[in-house]
Every structure is written in structure tokens, then in C-alpha cells.
């Protein structure tokens, strides 16, 4: 008998419904435990000395006075732990503290552990640093060439280029020559940042048994675990990483961060527990947010509007470190094509170091800014061809179970159903180009990976997720996994999958806090991988467990176990439901034989992708699709505008927790609107001008449109119960939908983000002064 035979088929009891988050009662009462809520006996506080220069050599560093100050227990500098690290194994260019040189205004130069914050701050002020200022590099265009004193020695050919990607599939030049229609668009995007509400915080404690425990606000406990081991030189098994509740991440807590290592190092130096909590300015300086990008898109099509080529370029500002940058550089190309079939594709992308806070992965990493330009270009193409923008996208939709020109394996896609849904719900046919001047409606499409198939530290055949279950006489089911719930509801989904398969009530299932001592490895919350990968691992583990329970139920009922089925808290004979045993009866019988039941499940991505250089970038076991329509109203005299409504059709396969999927879509729309409306990492030279939640303009509830969520996906063949991701893909269609709606409203394509009211007004002016009327205006 195989587990697959007893796989739960729809209709399901829990999955597919609205499942309140299992930890929500703790959060609404203030009882959820975040890292900063923890106190250890004798705990010291750490503070960091940050560089006042964007680029400088450290000639000398004198910490003697600071060390001898009252209340100070340790002062740490870069020479103590100089081993480089980084989230990607191929680009280890960070150190825990600056070694020899600082690379951005805010780079960590020294750290102090003291009895209290005041003593620590006093000690920081007593540290003497002699800097030799170097030329500051803030323009990625300049950094493309050889420069004096490049930011890193590893820049290509003496430049500040961190990564260059050149790809060509098919024959783009031939396609362009043959094209009946061709559009070209350039756009510029300011950097944005995650701005989660919980500042970064870490607690570390080295104990006399030779072990180190680290509690940290992290999305990826396992990568932190590895970085700690590499830099501190401690074997992994002597380090224990615990992830308490995390107050939001969005990618900003997915790199192992220097301060986490610094905190651990201070704990080792002092023998005391140490807490390192960021203030809000430090959160902004640590950044790792969405890269500032200048991109260019050329789309060619035949007379029927079938796309024949994409030709794409991206210049990506990296900031001081590599972070996820190599992935970013690939993603800015390869994620541009889906949801469309593109037979010829060329991409040239470069990521350039600058002396600014590092950029990294932020929600819908690499698939957001590029998607914006593509979607505006698609609208332009529709206009040029005289085709409705929805029809144009229909004509070019990727087919289910197809392969892209760069060897992405496409399985399920409900992109056309997404288009149908928003078209009919929004009243598109009556509104598009028919609303009065100042009002507009626009479409954007979305596409994103459902988990990177290239986990960072594994050969592909090792599991990306493992889940352990333990059930003892009490009838409670303990679930262990290093999946990192950062508010998206992954713990709830984990519990619900286990409960679904076992047929038990959700309240029997306890998701145990992430703790590397007991949690089997799952590589955490990034690349929108958790539902798909952890979900499959959890399902497999639960199926192994239910096998044992059904075997016991068979012994108790005398029926062959393959005639037994799972019912609510009960295992019964399929054709005679009155004969059966309760979950607890089956459990206790099973325990007679083996003691407490345990089961393991794991997920490993299938082999996929081409064999060319960089072929794995962007490969995923499944992809999400989206079509959003936005309706806007513009005050054409002030440039202020309202996004009134968004119709959001999303293909996440089968939604397993509708409450969570809706929450991810609504939250994604909010975050994308922030980037569109005014969020910006605003720099003058190397200096961040707005490191505060007052001047970094996260949208308020008044700015949030009404959102109508339309979940139209069909079951994915490999997703758990047919599910795909819904955490990041819901972001990408938002900005282009709003921009295309603005075009419909006032006839201006906005290609410089954020689109603040002054820019709207300038666009309207430019169109008027060119004598170009729009929808009845002159």
C-alpha cells in the first residue's frame, strides 16, 4: 500500500477554507515572544560604532580608552573575526566588522558590550579611528569602467561591476528585423526598503558547556547558522539558532547580517549573554532592500501581436556588498518573460557596487521593477497595434506544460483565467479609454517563482525542506521544522496540512518554535518557497504517520488497512463507516508497538533547467501568475492621485488558506503602492537623507484602495494539494496596473519611480506643451 493512495483528495476539511493564524491569540494579547522581549540573566547590551565616511581606509583604530571605561565588558574590531561571508557562497565579500576599509556611511567599525546603553554609547564615543577618505562611488554608470580604488578588489577588471550577465536565446536581431511592431521603453527606479516594524535584534549567549545559543529576528535561521559557524570558526553542532516570533521580514532578514555575528562574538568574548537591538536609523542603513535600477525593454511582435522578441538591459545599483546580487542580476532578465511566450530573448544585466547601504532581496526580488517596464511596454505595444491590452496578453500567454526559450519548465498556469476574471469584474470593456480625463483604468500582469530550485547551500539532491512529527500518548502532535514564520502564516499552514492528513482537529497540532537543536532543516522564508516545499514535506511526513495509525486501526477493527479511510478524529472502514476507531484508540494501539510515533517528510526539487551558465537562476518547481486591474483618479492640477480600486486575480494553484492568501495579496498591493507613491531611499551623494519612518513614506490606511481578490488558479500537479506560492508574486502586477491606469487617465507614461505628485504634474505639463491632447483635452 502506498501513501499516495490515501492522499486527501478535495474536498478537504480544513485546507481551502479560512484558517485563522494559530499564533494570532498570542499576538493580539501581546503574549507572542519576539527576540527583544527576551531577557537573559546578566545580559549585556551591545552598540555599534558606524563609519562616518562612505569610503575610507582605516589607518588606525584605538579602542584602549573605550575598553577601560566603566560598565564596558568588551570592545570588538574587525581584525578579530575577519573571515568573509555572504548569503551566496560564491560572493563572500562581507565581514562582521570593517576590515581595513569602510564601504558605506554606516558600515560597522567597532562594537561595544556594556552594562547598559548609556555606558555603551559613551564607550563608542571614546573610540578613536583615523580614516583616510577615498573617492566615493555613488553612480553605477561611472562604476562600469575601471576606477581608482574600486570598492571591492573583486570588481570586474578594476571596475565596480559586481556581476555581469549576458544571455541570448534564439536570434533577437533577426526577430527585430522581421518585426511588424516594436516598442522600446526605459525606466528608472529608486531603491526601496522593507521597513518591517520590528527592528533587527539578536541575543547571543556562550555557555560553559562549549555551546553558543543565538536568538535572532531572522527569516532564514539556517543560513545564519552557517554564517555564524564560518566566521566564528565554531562547528555547526555547537551553535544553536533559535527564531522567536519575527516582526516582518520581506527579505530584509534573509541575509545573515553582520550584527548577528558581532553579537555572537561579543557573547563569546564576555561570557555573558549579549543583546544587540537596532534603532530605526540602523534598520534603514542595514537596508538590503530592492535595488535601484535603470532598465530598458524592447519588445518586438508580428502583425497579429504575437511577441517575437524581448531585448532587455538592466543597470543595477548594488550598494556596498554583494548580498543576493548575483541572483538579482539574473532575475532582472530571466523573470521578465513569463507570463508570456517569448521565442527570442536577449539580456544584458550589470550590478555595480556603490558606496551606499547594500541592496539585496525584497519581496518579489528581481521580478518587480523589470516587470513594471515590460508591462508598460506591453501596453504601448497594444496601443501601437490597436489591440486591447487584455487581448494582447491573452494572445501571448504561456501554455500550460510548456518550456520557455531559456529552459524554464512551466507546469500549471491559469494566466488566461486571471485575465478573464479581472476583465469581467472590473467592467473593463466599458471603461478602458472611455472614462473622463483624469480617470483611468489599467492592467498589469504578474509572474513569479514558487520557490527557488537552487537552494544556496545544497547540492540539488539534498532536501530543501524537512518536517518531523512526534505523537505521544497525550494525543498532541508536535511538528518540527526550521520553516520560518515571519507573519505570512506558514506555521498555520504546516499545522493545517498535518491535521488535514491525520484527520484530527487543528488544536491537537503544536508547531514547535524554530530551534536548530530540534528542528530539521528547512531553508527558510525567501523566494516564496515555503508553501510549496514545506507543504510537500509536511504532507509526506503526515502521510507516513497516518500509515502507522491506519495499521493500528486495522489491527483493532480486524479489517485490512487498505479498506480503512481517514475521517474526522477517526479511522473507519470505507464501506462501513459505523465500524472504526477514534484517533486516540488508534494512536494508543500504535504506541504499544513502537513507543511515541515519529515520522519524517522531506521535499527535494526535481531536476530542471538547462546546462548553460546561469541556467538554474529562476528555475522553480512551479510559477504563480497574476492579472491586476487598477482604477485611479488624478487631480490634474496638483498631480495628487487616488488608487481607488484594485481587482486582483491571482493563480496560486489551489489556495490552502484563503485568509492568508488574501492577506498576502492585500499586503503586497500595499507594499507595491508604497514604492509607487513615494517610498524611496533618498540619497544625496552617499548619504541617506530619510532614515526614519516619518520621511520614508509607507502608505497610510487612507491610501489603501479597495481590493477585490479573485483566486482562479487550477491545481498545480506538484504543489501540496495543488498549491503554489502567494507571498511575493501578488506584488508585481500592482505597480504596472496603476501606471497603465494613470496613462489611461492623463495620457502619460511614468517611468521614474516613485511617481510623486510633482512628477505627475510635470508629465501632464509635458504632454500639454507638446500639444498632445488626451481623451478630449487639448
Amino acid at each position: 500500500m502506498t501513501a499516495a493512495r490515501r492522499t486527501v483528495a478535495p474536498p478537504t476539511r480544513l485546507l481551502g477554507g479560512r484558517i485563522p493564524y494559530i499564533e494570532a491569540p498570542l499576538k493580539v494579547t501581546g503574549r507572542a515572544e519576539y527576540t527583544d522581549d527576551l531577557k537573559r540573566p546578566g545580559m549585556l547590551l551591545a552598540r555599534l560604532l558606524r563609519s562616518p565616511y562612505a569610503h575610507a581606509r582605516i589607518r588606525s583604530l584605538d579602542v584602549a580608552a573605550a575598553r577601560s571605561m566603566p560598565g564596558v565588558h568588551a570592545v570588538l574590531t574587525g581584525d578579530r573575526y575577519p573571515t568573509p561571508f555572504g548569503v551566496l557562497p560564491i560572493t563572500h565579500d562581507e565581514t562582521a566588522l570593517a576590515v581595513g576599509k569602510v564601504r558605506y556611511l554606516g558600515d560597522i567599525v567597532a562594537a561595544v558590550a556594556a552594562d547598559d546603553e548609556l555606558s555603551a554609547d559613551r564607550a563608542l564615543r571614546a573610540i578613536r579611528v583615523d580614516y583616510e577618505p577615498l573617492a566615493e562611488h555613488v553612480d553605477p554608470r561611472v562604476g562600469l569602467q575601471r576606477v581608482d580604488e574600486p570598492i571591492h578588489a573583486r570588481g570586474l577588471n578594476g571596475s565596480n561591476v559586481q556581476k555581469e550577465v549576458a544571455q541570448h536565446f534564439g536570434d533577437v536581431d533577426a526577430a527585430l528585423a522581421r518585426a511588424r511592431a516594436q516598442v522600446h521603453l526605459r525606466a528608472t527606479f529608486a531603491g526601496v526598503t522593507h521597513a518591517f516594524t520590528e527592528p533587527q535584534v539578536t541575543i547571543a549567549e556562550a555557555t560553559p558547556d562549549g555551546r553558543l545559543t543565538v536568538w535572532s529576528a531572522t527569516q532564514v535561521p539556517h543560513y545564519l547558522h552557517r554564517a555564524l559557524s564560518e566566521v566564528l570558526g565554531w562547528p555547526l553542532h555547537r551553535i544553536r539558532v533559535i527564531k522567536p516570533e519575527v516582526g516582518g521580514g520581506f527579505g530584509g532578514k534573509s541575509d545573515p547580517l553582520p550584527h548577528e555575528i558581532v553579537c555572537a562574538a561579543l557573547a563569546i568574548e564576555t561570557g555573558r549573554p549579549v543583546k544587540l537591538l537596532f534603532d530605526r536609523e540602523e534598520v534603514f542603513l542595514t537596508n538590503h532592500g530592492r535595488h535601484p535600477v535603470q532598465n530598458e525593454v524592447t519588445i518586438a511582435a508580428d502583425a497579429e501581436g504575437r511577441i517575437s522578441a524581448f531585448d532587455i538591459q538592466a543597470l543595477i545599483e548594488g550598494g556596498a556588498w554583494s548580498s543576493f546580487g548575483t541572483v538579482t542580476t539574473y532575475y532582472n532578465g530571466v523573470l521578465s518573460m513569463g507570463p508570456y511566450r517569448v521565442p527570442n530573448f536577449r539580456y544584458h544585466g550589470r550590478r555595480v557596487y556603490t558606496n551606499r547601504p547594500p541592496n539585496g532581496a525584497m519581496r518579489a526580488h528581481g521580478g518587480t521593477n523589470l516587470r513594471y517596464t515590460v508591462e508598460l511596454a506591453m501596453d504601448l505595444l497594444a496601443e501601437q497595434l490597436g489591440v486591447d491590452p487584455i487581448d494582447l496578453r491573452r494572445r501571448n500567454a504561456l501554455a500550460p506544460h510548456s518550456t520557455t526559450v531559456n529552459q524554464f519548465r512551466i507546469t500549471s498556469t491559469s494566466f488566461k483565467q486571471c485575465l478573464d476574471a479581472v476583465e469581467s469584474r472590473s467592467g473593463w470593456r466599458e471603461k478602458f479609454r472611455r472614462l473622463p480625463y483624469g480617470r483611468g483604468i489599467g492592467l498589469g500582469a504578474g509572474f513569479y517563482i514558487s520557490g527557488s530550485n537552487s537552494p544556496i547551500h545544497f547540492s540539488p539532491r539534498m532536501p530543501q525542506s524537512t518536517v518531523h512529527l512526534k505523537v505521544d500518548m497525550d494525543g498532541g502532535i508536535a511538528v518540527h521544522s526550521m520553516q520560518a514564520d515571519i507573519g505570512q502564516g506558514s506555521s498555520t499552514l504546516l499545522a493545517a496540512i498535518v491535521a488535514e492528513v491525520l484527520g484530527v482537529d487543528l488544536e491537537r497540532v503544536h508547531v514547535v518554535r524554530v530551534d536548530s537543536d530540534v528542528s530539521p532543516i528547512d531553508i527558510g522564508s525567501y523566494s516564496s518557497r515555503v508553501t510549496f516545499m514545506m507543504g510537500n514535506a509536511a504532507r509526506q511526513a503526515a502521510e507516513h504517520l497516518v500509515e502507522q495509525l491506519l495499521h493500528a486501526a486495522g489491527e483493532l477493527t480486524g479489517y485490512p488497512e487498505d479498506e480503512l479511510v481517514v475521517a474526522h478524529e477517526r479511522y473507519q472502514v470505507g464501506h462501513r463507516p459505523e465500524i472504526g476507531v477514534s484517533f486516540l484508540e488508534a494512536l494508543h494501539k500504535a504506541i504499544e508497538r513502537s513507543g511515541a510515533l515519529v515520522a519524517t517528510g522531506a521535499y527535494t526539487g526535481p531536476p530542471m533547467g538547462g546546462t548553460f551558465k546561469g541556467s538554474r537562476a529562476g528555475t522553480s518547481p512551479a510559477y504563480s501568475f497574476a492579472a491586476y486591474i487598477a482604477e485611479v483618479e488624478v487631480d490634474v492640477e496638483t498631480g495628487l492621485f487616488d488608487v481607488e480600486k484594485v481587482w486582483a486575480a491571482f493563480d496560486c494553484g489551489r489556495p490552502l488558506n484563503r485568509l492568508a492568501v488574501e492577506g498576502q495579496i492585500e499586503g503586497s498591493i500595499h507594499m507595491a503602492l508604497g514604492q509607487f507613491l513615494g517610498e524611496t531611499m533618498s540619497y544625496r551623494g552617499p548619504r541617506l537623507m530619510n532614515p526614519s519612518l516619518l520621511e520614508y513614506k509607507i502608505p497610510t490606511p487612507q491610501q489603501m484602495p479597495e481590493v477585490e481578490v479573485l483566486l482562479v488558479g487550477e491545481d498545480d500537479p506538484e504543489g501540496p494539494f495543488g498549491a503554489k506560492e502567494a507571498g511575493e508574486g501578488p506584488l508585481v502586477a500592482t505597480m504596472p496596473a496603476v501606471a497603465n491606469a494613470l496613462y489611461d487617465a492623463v495620457g502619460v507614461r511614468f517611468t521614474d519611480l516613485p511617481v510623486t505628485p510633482d512628477k505627475v504634474l510635470k508629465g501632464i505639463d509635458a504632454r500639454r506643451s507638446a500639444g498632445a491632447g488626451w481623451k478630449g483635452t487639448r
Binding site: 548609556l118 554609547d121 532614515p691 520621511e695 497610510t700 491610501q703
Partner: protein
């Protein structure tokens, strides 16, 4: 973040306050009312002083009654007062548009009048400012907005002052040498270096704001330009009052904030119009004249040329709205 240690004083009367301020010296202390402006600045180590004198316990500063807003009256209480909304709409609107409901719960009338001017180069942490060699307004000797060493260009960011100015409100001041009342805008030193910003005698405090009978019930409004409908300080604040009688201008006031180092009223533009017939063109002309007169600089989120341009739009719209309201009322 922590506050540097200071000594906290809680006088129970203005006389006690005067004795304290004499003892502590003019540079030795700051007054503390709601704390929503001062404490963030103190956390950023901006012009921190060793003593804070809290106004919480001085009874005559508290609360507001008809026509009198105590210096310690909380903006949330003004917002919740329907009588104020009918009697002095601009003042009510301005109070309701300050920051956020959470800030307004603590923020006070006096605090908003005397709110510290703001600038990208000033409202930053100590390490941030240190990395740039500080600025004229705190710890340094150079302005980074308009590079020179004489004048500070930080922006006046209070919402109440322009609204109070158009209803001809007076501020009541008490000092060791007695009490005085003066029009609200006389509080502001418009000719100075931008650092000294108020005409307050040593030890003098704002006790209350008085709203005159003459403007009670007149049509007035306050409009605020900002990126977000809450949180943000004004990028521009426009207050206007317009009373028409038989189509003629009986009383007309215009004031702005959020653009320059101090709030401003444009009597030189509006006084000559009293008794004249109102027309839509007047709103356009006046708006254009105000726009020409203002000089925003680049130290807030939105660019100064845009804020200047919006001045005309906001003034015209405010006047048009008031004229329509007035016409509707007399019809």
C-alpha cells in the same frame, strides 16, 4: 534610543515657573508640554538642555473653553470639539490634520505654535549630523541647504499658526514682567537668522490663545499639502478666511505655513480688497501673487518649485471654496 539625563521640574503656577526659569537661565532649560516634538529631538541629541520644565501642572494652561485655547490644550480635544468646528473651522481643520491621532492625543496648542523648525539636515541622529560636520541650527556653523554661514532655512512646520492667524487670534504671554496679548504671528521673528525664531522675552511663556468674537462663525479653511494623509508635516499649509456681504469682501485673510522659516499672513495683498466685489478672478490673482511671494527651499520631501506652484492652487481653491460656502450661506 535613550534620552540623556536631565532634571525634570513641574511648577504648579506661572509664578513658580518664572522663579525656576530665572534660576536655570535662558539656555539652561526647555519647556515641555506634549513632548511629541521635543522628545524626538532630544532622542536625536538635538540642542539638548540639562533641565526640562514641564507645564503639565499649571492649571491655567490646561484645557480650552469658548474662545480660549489653553497652551496645554491637546489637539485631540480641539479635534473632538464640534463648537470649535462651527465657530473657527480653519482652526479645527488645522488641529485635526496635525500628524496622527496618536500624536494629537499628546500634542498641545502651545507646542504646535512653537514647534521646532524642520530640515533634512537637522532632524537626524547625532552620528548622521556628525558625519557632515553638523549644521548652523545645531552644533555647527554651516547651512547645508543654502550653503552659507549666516542664516538657517529650516522650515516652519506647524499647522495651527496660519489657521489662527486668519481668524485674528491673539496669543496671551506671561513673563516675569507681566502679561501681554499680541496677534499670533507677532510671536515669530521674521527678520532674524532663522535660529532665533520667536519674539519672547526671557522667561516668557505662551499661556493661551484667544479667538476673537469678530471672526466667530466666519467661513475659514485650512488645506495641507503632504504626501500621506496622515503622519506627514505640511509641505505647504494654506489658511484662508473670507467674509462676503452682498457680494463684497468684508474680511479676507490669507496665511501660509510649511514653506518658509516662519508662518506668514498676506495682509498687504488682502487688505486693499476690503469692500471690493468678490469674483472668481480675484482668487486667481491673489493665488498668483502669493505664489510669487513665497520662497521655499529644498529641505522637505517634495521639491520647492512644486510646493511654490501648489501655493497658487491651494490658495485659489481655498478662496473658491469659501466664496461658494459664503454664497450658499447667504442664499
Amino acid at each position: 534610543m535613550h534620552l540623556d539625563p536631565f532634571e525634570l521640574h513641574r511648577p504648579r503656577s506661572v509664578d513658580e515657573l518664572f522663579r525656576l526659569s530665572e534660576r536655570l537661565g535662558p539656555e539652561g532649560f526647555d519647556l515641555l508640554s506634549g513632548g511629541t516634538d521635543l522628545l524626538p529631538n532630544y532622542k536625536m541629541h538635538l540642542n539638548v538642555r540639562p533641565h526640562l520644565v514641564a507645564l503639565w501642572d499649571i492649571a491655567e494652561l490646561q484645557g480650552h473653553q469658548e474662545g480660549r485655547l489653553g497652551a496645554m490644550a491637546r489637539l485631540a480635544d480641539l479635534e473632538a470639539d464640534p463648537d470649535l468646528r462651527h465657530a473657527y473651522p480653519a482652526v479645527h481643520e488645522a488641529a485635526s490634520l496635525v500628524a496622527t491621532p496618536l500624536v494629537r492625543a499628546s500634542a498641545t496648542v502651545g507646542g504646535n505654535l512653537l514647534v521646532e523648525t524642520r530640515c533634512f539636515f537637522f532632524n537626524q541622529s547625532l552620528p548622521w549630523r556628525e558625519s557632515l560636520g553638523y549644521c548652523l541650527k545645531a552644533d555647527g556653523d554651516r547651512c547645508h541647504v543654502v550653503p552659507q554661514r549666516e542664516r538657517c532655512y529650516a522650515t516652519f512646520s506647524g499647522d495651527l499658526a496660519p489657521a489662527l492667524a486668519v481668524v485674528d487670534a491673539e496669543v496671551e504671554l506671561a513673563g516675569p514682567r507681566g502679561r501681554r496679548r499680541t496677534p499670533v504671528l507677532n510671536l515669530y521673528d521674521t527678520g532674524g537668522d532663522g535660529i532665533r525664531r520667536h519674539h519672547l522675552a526671557p522667561g516668557e511663556v505662551v499661556v493661551a490663545v484667544h479667538l476673537p468674537e469678530a471672526t466667530r462663525g466666519l467661513a475659514s479653511t485650512y488645506a495641507k499639502l503632504r504626501v500621506r494623509p496622515s503622519f506627514d508635516f505640511p509641505e505647504l499649509g494654506v489658511a484662508a478666511l473670507l467674509a462676503l456681504h452682498d457680494g463684497r469682501i468684508q474680511r479676507l485673510r490669507l496665511a501660509i505655513g510649511g514653506l518658509e522659516t516662519h508662518p506668514r499672513r498676506f495682509d498687504e495683498l488682502t487688505d486693499p480688497l476690503e469692500g471690493e466685489l468678490w469674483s472668481a478672478e480675484r482668487a486667481v490673482t491673489l493665488a498668483e501673487e502669493v505664489r510669487k511671494a513665497v520662497r521655499p527651499v529644498h529641505n522637505t520631501f517634495l521639491p520647492p518649485d512644486y510646493r511654490k506652484r501648489m501655493t497658487a492652487v491651494f490658495v485659489r481653491r481655498a478662496l473658491t471654496t469659501l466664496a461658494e460656502r459664503g454664497a450658499a450661506a447667504s442664499a
